[in-house]
Symmetry: C5
Subunit: 355 residues, 5 copies
């Protein structure tokens, strides 16, 4: 992922600053625009393919959520930007999908970038950039492709559940961000399970070298999630503190709530970070314990049989005159001695708790 | 625990913000309400089952402590909230048991969330969320279930020990919190014992792989305790600094005392943290020492007997012409040589301090 | 590199402060001066060999970029400094190539030092110091030798791409710095690849001691890059915050953009830092795993054959009376016993998962 | 120690806040009060057993140092507190010997708690709490038991050495604290010696498991000393900064001097901390080196004699037709071969620097 | 060194604060005073043995540098202090050679303490305390003994090189400090070499236990240098920020230059610190690699020859009926089998990359 992101950033070397260049995956995706337009007694939902069709929603007296999927359609985004009066740097940031979460306040809108995190079917974290423009009575959202974490928001608007239909665009932005942060909990929860699985695995004595890779992959995931989430705290805190006519002071309580959630997520990430970092130590000691066990087997076998073999060797010598060889019971006496030695060894190792 | 908490948070994905949903264990618990109503010359203690019965205590001229157990009774809590004029977000936070310790100041009450920590019979740390509402002459407390750390407070109110009966609700809140923090000392004390036990265990040479698990479990306990206690420092410090008509300046001295205690607890936690973290190193070196010992036994046995066996092998060869075989005392001379070699080896290993 | 830098600094011991002494590589390099002089409708590009030829560009009404290569030509730089009214300390800093990135604001110009980082053909990071003087309508830049990261800037000026021809010198400085920072992304991207390669290498079981050197070299590279980039954040942040008549407030938006990029680069560096630091642990566990494997082979071989050899030794003894020797099928029975022992051993090691 | 302190704190669970309960060792100690009363021309020294006898010293026009030993005499301390007008919380803190170093400023006195550290005969650090009350012309000091670090102060007062007899109570407090801090130097010096001894021990190859315990004990000592000393910096810094009529501005210079000393002590503690923490690494590598040595001996012995034994085994076989057995010089040739092999092995191991 | 410093500090226990006691090496050193007295057209250099001879230089209209060597001559220093009106605490600090770098501003002079660092012939770092008094037109400097880093300053004054003869005493102090800091670069450069040497040593496979000591010694050196240099940053920064009539604002630019250098030195120290700290890891892995190599040799030898020896042992048995013994070519067939086994083993180990 780190690799991918850099490769994208790299593509821009030498480009003119302020130019709107999509830095994501170039495979052509359909432009898909979704509009929710509502107030306490009206509600309209539309799927569109042309940005021009959204222009009317800017000035009507309903709250509008215009959700655009397909950042590769740079032309359409530029047209939209022109109509909604967006600064070129904003447009550049929307299509450059390697932004850090940030907030930029302009005269008549607020620009927000953040990362949507969710697990795909194969337990890989998907990190997708979402940009929001909060205007007086509309929220524009920009996503790389279809598929997001906003289904509960759509349902709530459709069914008029909760306060959303009676509130303004600032509240709409809040519930959108709240949905994103809910999924953060989901992501770190899964991370927690993965760490515990790995822990159990190591504890049960799995010392395969693949553990190394698993630990590292988890480390990278945590660093990645961390980088998506930590800067967001500052963003939210700025929303809370800043006086903008676009965000009503009553709505700010809700943003404070988001902030509390983010702090909680951050704390969990840091705890997981510590746990995963110390997994390596646990792994190391487990390997050493295994080796200890191996060494004990070797030492016990060698310590018992090498001396006995030596004794057998003695009486295999061909000296003309070895008196013991000619006594009748020598052989049996020797067996006795050897068995005693054997037992003594066993007792010794038992005492040392190696057996 | 981390796992459990996340699972709970997860349940809320997609729920409408501001809705009062109990996130704890769903097994039905009885609603149990306890009321202490007192001033310097009156005292009343009551057990109730209906919240409505507590409404009269809001306005009387005594100090009232209304202690509600059973957060699953969301309806009752909402009724209470309505009567005591609590904000919906406050109610939501009361029943969401995965809050960070925090303080929210409202017009006519202060809302506090913190964690009660104590050991159950099996030496497991129980972390239970307690929420307090401090009003002009009452304290509401909300607990998940019966069983808490407030028995000494109850006794003191009943018996009129100390200042409690002559002071206002702010002082009542103080002694409730003081009880909680007293138990923090208890918890970290037990953590300290556990660390020392583990230390002794390792030092005495126990290198079982279960040590790994014990160390990790202790680490997790410390992280958990830390997360419950550290944010509280800021909470108390805000009580101290903030000018609220609900907390008399004379009472603030007592809160400063709590603050001092919290700092002490925090320092101890950090010390234990360091001790437990470095246990892993100690464990590692102990394993290595053990292995060293094993290797020494092997090396001594092998180094002594392999050369001797070689010598015996030599005279077991069947060459037609080996002159030594035919001397009369060869065999005895050989024994002499071998014993000398043996002794030389012993001396060598003795010198190396391997014996 | 650290060694080299210090050696240079060392050369100055005892020198008079404020004296202009070039601390870089003394091999004589040609003085090479490049001038770009332009406004929205004019454009002039010149290559010069004498500083005196640049003096006219100071006062004309175009934006001029005077790019001087060859810091060993101290005399020429002093002449230039005199004409452009530069402070002696500034000149000293320009030719002392071991500066930290910094900004010094003077009455009628701003002095900036930073580090250009790029990979040469052999994947070595080249760090070259660039100093900028931003005057009212000119930018002076000073490089140690030819070869830099500004080709895209040259093209843009030549072709009038983007805003550059319509903007002032402060914007020119911005695009120059932007080019430098674009290359920072490039450098850390390559660092990222190197770390991943090393990681794969270790994971695949390469435990050669050279890994040690590779890890250390990467560590040093990261420390070096870090030292070049981190102080720059403060520099840019000061440009943003400071009120200078030399930098228009509209241009400051662009500097904020650079600042965002720098934060991104810094975060990546810190992530790579963590990854490379923990590589050592991974390497350690891989070595231990290898050793474990070696030990297992040894233990299996020894545990199987040492007892068998002992048995063979027994029946090689020359006692006069060993009854087994004279039974007809002894030899075959013995083989049977030995094969059974062998198989039992194999099963035992299979169970222990050593095979 | 951590264990002990907690046990004490534990005893207080459930006690009424503000109650004066001695938390130290309950064995009965004699109350012992010492009074030094002096000005530039008078001097009086008294030993008393009843606090009532000290009451006259409060108001006379000399500087009085009233030093009370025996915190278990709670009644006497409460009487003293009443006469000197001390707040109940102050009295509670005086007898609760698990205080963090702190300063509390009251209307007409300053209350200071700090830790006296010194080594007893057996090289154990003794940490004893000392509380000071600085009044207009008196200093009260409270110690758990007799025996302290103030002998040089006593001498100085007796003999009128230095400035003490011409200065006020604030200076007396200063020289008392200065004595305490002088002993801090002593304590960390001894810690330094202990670390170096341990270092030498490890370096000389002592890899006994007891080293583990020694390192841990030193770690704990350092953490303990650290906890006693670090909060004091803030205390002194508050004396310096605060405007109190009790401390003359000319005396503040002296407190700044103490502050400088404390910083020095703190720096040393942190250095020792680092040194002791990294001792574990040194210990680990030393163990590994030892093991390496052991392994080499084993490998050399085994590698030399196992092949030779094999050769001897070959010619111990009883095949009917082994031609070599019947050559006359076979035996001697074989010896030659074996000696050559032996020497070759030695050379090989020499080359590998294992010998 | 740490040991030495503490020992010195220890000597002072119980001494009266403010008393001027030399804490350094008591061996008697000659008092040696050097005076440089100059302005833009006059210059005088003198060597003196009595402090009284320097008194005239206080009030003349030249800039005077009075450099006193021999801190054991406490009487002379006290006389000088009296004449130059120095505070007793200043005198105490001058002769107490275990000061942290610090600055104290007095009415009519500034008192500065810092550490001179340089390598002696045997590559040991010498740390010597230098104190400066900056008066209106003089600089007093105090050194423990002759030999310092100021020769270039002397030359510059003598020869009138640079600005020194035209500037005031504040500039003189600057070039003195600049000389000291130049040597800091020298010291850390040498530290850098030492680290690299050690690194190369370890990399080339030197795993002697002495490496442990070398690493530790370097760590201590770095900690020591760090402690001498880091507090100086604050000192210089206070000179820069403070408004003193003794330091002209034009001279402050030069102090900012020193500050930049100090930051650079500090950064290098921290980098070296990291490098040296991670050397231990490298050492550890190198040891483990060595051990791995040893184990491989052992395993290969044992794995090849133990089975072969077993086979030879089989045919050394004395059973009456072993059919193979009587076939004519058995012996040669056996050799064939053994050689095949041997080769198979070699191939196996080759495949495992152990050969």
């Amino acid at each position: 992922m780190a690799k991918k992101r850099n490769k994208k950033a790299h593509k821009k070397i030498g480009s003119v600053p302020g130019s709107v260049i999509y830095t994501g995956n170039k495979e052509s995706k359909e432009l898909f625009i979704e509009v929710f337009d509502y107030n306490h007694d009206k509600f309209l939902e539309k799927q569109l393919n042309k940005v021009e069709d959204t222009f009317d929603f800017k000035l009507n007296d309903c709250v509008s959520w215009i959700n655009l999927n397909g950042l590769n359609h740079v032309d359409s985004i530029e047209k939209l930007g022109l109509h909604f009066n967006l600064h070129p740097l904003v447009l550049e940031d929307i299509v450059n999908i390697s932004q850090r979460p940030k907030i930029d306040e302009y005269e008549d809108y607020i620009f927000l970038v953040l990362k949507m995190l969710y697990y795909d079917g194969d337990e890989n974290i998907i990190s997708e950039q979402v940009s929001f423009i909060l205007g007086p009575n509309y929220v524009l959202s920009f996503q790389e492709s279809e598929g997001d974490v906003f289904d509960s928001v759509r349902d709530r608007i459709r069914q008029g559940k909760g306060r959303v239909r009676t509130m303004n665009a600032d509240y709409l932005l809040y519930i959108l961000m709240d949905s994103i942060i809910d999924y953060y909990f989901n992501v770190i929860e899964t991370l927690g399970y993965k760490i515990e699985d790995l822990e159990t695995d190591i504890f049960l004595g799995n010392v395969e070298n693949t553990i190394n890779k698993d630990i590292r992959d988890l480390k990278k995931e945590i660093l990645r999630v961390r980088r998506a989430i930590f800067p967001l705290r500052e963003v939210i805190s700025r929303i809370e503190k800043h006086d903008s006519h676009l965000i009503a002071s009553t709505t700010k309580n809700y943003y404070r709530d988001i902030y509390d959630h983010l702090i909680q997520v951050s704390e969990n990430i840091d705890i997981y970070r510590e746990m995963i970092w110390s997994l390596m130590d646990m792994y190391m000691t487990t390997i050493s314990n295994k080796m200890n066990e191996v060494m004990k087997v070797l030492t016990i076998m060698a310590s018992i049989f090498i001396p006995l073999t030596f004794i057998a060797g003695i009486y295999g010598m061909n000296f003309d005159y070895i008196p013991e060889l000619h006594f009748k019971y020598s052989y049996f006496i020797l067996w006795g001695v050897m068995i005693m030695l054997f037992v003594a060894m066993l007792i010794y190792f038992k005492r040392k708790k190696w057996l």
